[in-house]
Amino acid sequence: MTRRRLLILAGLLLFAAEPARAEATLTVGAIYVGSVNDYGYNRAMKDGLTAMKEAVPGITLLEAENVPETAEAERIMEGMIQQGAKLIFATSFGHQQFAFNLAKKHPDVVFEHAGGWMQAANFGNFFAATQAAWYPMGVAAGKMTKSNTLGFVAGVPIGFIIGDVNAFALGARSVNPKAEVRVVVTGSWADKAKEAEAANALIDQGADVITMHVDSPATVIQVAESRGVYSIGFQSIEARALAPKGWLTGLGFTWGPFMTATAKSVIAGSFKPAMVRQGLGEGMLAVAPFGNAVPEETRGLVLAAVDKIAKGYNPFTGPLSDNTGAVRLKEGEALGNDKMGDFDWYVAGVIGKAK
């Protein structure tokens, strides 16, 4: 055989050998709104995707960090689809519309968006029901505070975030009726300088436990640590590395099981779109390890509250008034998970204006 024919034969054999070697592969694309080194939201998403990749064999993961919540996101996701992605995780609230546009254009690709509400045959929505999970955080804060002032730095005051603040306040006041929560809104999910100023402003007002709902807890926790006050983390339980002295506890998203299940369903062809909102009980959220500052008795109270929430206790049960005195929930009424985005009022004990 001539050398040329030998080479052509070798090439064809290689070609033919490829499909026989691989198993069911799935290319998964994921876009993050920030950097995965943020000890926060994006880190938690990355950890979940890493867990998914380890749990399901044959997954190729395409990632893009710092994808803005603009039409640029659509271009980046389109690029991933061109590379063969059949499952796209759009991990930030503001990516929703752009992912939805692409879902209409590519009916064979499955999209999962974090934190929104839109749905289609190939578009599902997922997030953790964070609100109730803040209740045990409030319990920790309420027990540890000496000044009875708790500080909360909020990014964008949408209903879900207001709900977080409310559950935090309810938890704190369940163990310490004198505790008050002061809220400062920075206006952006990630403006580090404003977060630092907001945390300082809250500490100036006497807050000795600081927490937050912004993309990255790093800045707020570092400010709290530098001023010697306690901090409670959010988004990723890894944030405790930032506050060796002041860390009390924290919440972190554990997306791994959900993402693994979704990837498996896409591979099996059995994907069903849904509005997934799971909480502490179902494993979407985890409570971080306690810091050294927390005494045994408080740990017990917090864990008891976690257990209560996991078993289905709803802190938003009437009678409940808002911080202007108006009655919002009557005896026997309760706000279900689907109403968490509708909050536009703070419960009694929160100093701040919701809208």
Partner: protein, 295 residues
């Protein structure tokens, strides 16, 4: 245990306004020489990223300040080459520098994202409070710059170039060289302004963390009528605007948080409207125009 409101707002304003002041002073020097730098935001970002990277690498925040100053200077000299050396349109070149700054700062800062650094330590140099070194040096820097521009030969030549470079050239000055020097000094100050954000305020680096402060600084130069002393007042006012809305929220003011976050920008617009009312402009006459004469 809580700080009195006025003291809290004042200390917050000073902290917030320091980076604005350095950036304004940097822009001011360049504009006095006749060069408008729309890419100030990019310079601040480069400074912030370089400062944070150097601090994280070397463990010393003061080295970080030096790195930020040098990086800012390099950025501005790049603009200088494009505008003075090649005669490009200043506004377009400035905007190009803006985007370049975004990209370069991301590149520099990416490996250090999430790093924990010891920021600039707070020094209680007087009873007014404990602030970091850059805050203490801000007012002296403005005073020094005022002396430099209005009380030295170099400053006189600089102003001459900014008013009419042809006349300055005829008088024996070298407009190009002076403009390069002004831009170098301006970049140094702008870089330091950015470094204050990442090393003193937030103690971290994030993409685009200046959040428009560079543009507020450009507006502040107009507010300051190109005078470093007025720039101090301007930076303090704008620092206060931002600090005030956050402190008011923490206090529980009965105003919508959305309206509160608008305050600094509303203030910018209001002041620019009223300040621009007078017909006579204090701007250097040749601001924005390139001098193509023989060097």
């Amino acid at each position: 245990m809580s700080t009195p409101f006025a003291a809290a707002v004042l200390s917050s304003s000073v902290l917030s306004g320091t980076s604005l002041l350095y950036a304004t002073l940097g822009e001011l020097v360049g504009e006095r020489a006749g060069i408008v730098n729309l890419g100030l935001e990019g310079i601040m970002l480069i400074g912030a990223a370089a400062g944070f990277a150097a601090t994280s690498f070397a463990g010393n925040p003061y080295l970080g300040i030096a790195a930020a100053a040098l990086a800012g200077m390099a950025g501005n000299l790049l603009l200088g080459y494009v505008v003075i050396g090649r005669g490009a349109n200043q506004l377009a070149a400035g905007l190009a520098l803006l985007f370049f700054g975004f990209g370069a700062s991301t590149l520099i800062g990416r490996p250090f994202m999430g790093a924990i650094v010891t920021g600039l330590p707070r020094l209680a140099l007087s009873e007014l409070g404990a602030f970091d070194l850059l805050v203490w040096l801000a007012l002296p820097a403005a005073l020094l710059l005022w002396c430099l521009i209005f009380r030295t030969r170099w400053g006189l030549a600089l102003r001459a170039v900014g008013e009419d470079p042809a006349v300055a050239f005829a008088a024996g000055r070298r407009p190009g060289q002076l403009q390069y020097q002004a831009l170098a000094l301006g970049g140094l100050l702008g870089g330091i302004g950015g470094a204050h954000l990442s090393l003193a305020l937030a103690m971290t680096w994030d993409e685009g963390m200046t959040a428009g402060r560079g543009f507020i600084a450009i507006a502040l130069v107009i507010f300051a009528k190109w005078n470093p002393l007025w720039a101090v007042a301007g930076a303090l006012v704008f620092g206060a605007a931002e600090a005030l809305q956050l402190q008011l929220q923490a206090r529980g003011a009965d105003v919508s948080p959305f309206l509160m976050t608008m305050i600094p920008y509303l203030l910018t617009l209001t002041i620019l409207v009223f300040w621009g009312w007078s017909r006579r402009s204090a701007a250097p006459a040749a601001l924005g125009r390139n001098f193509f004469g023989v060097e």
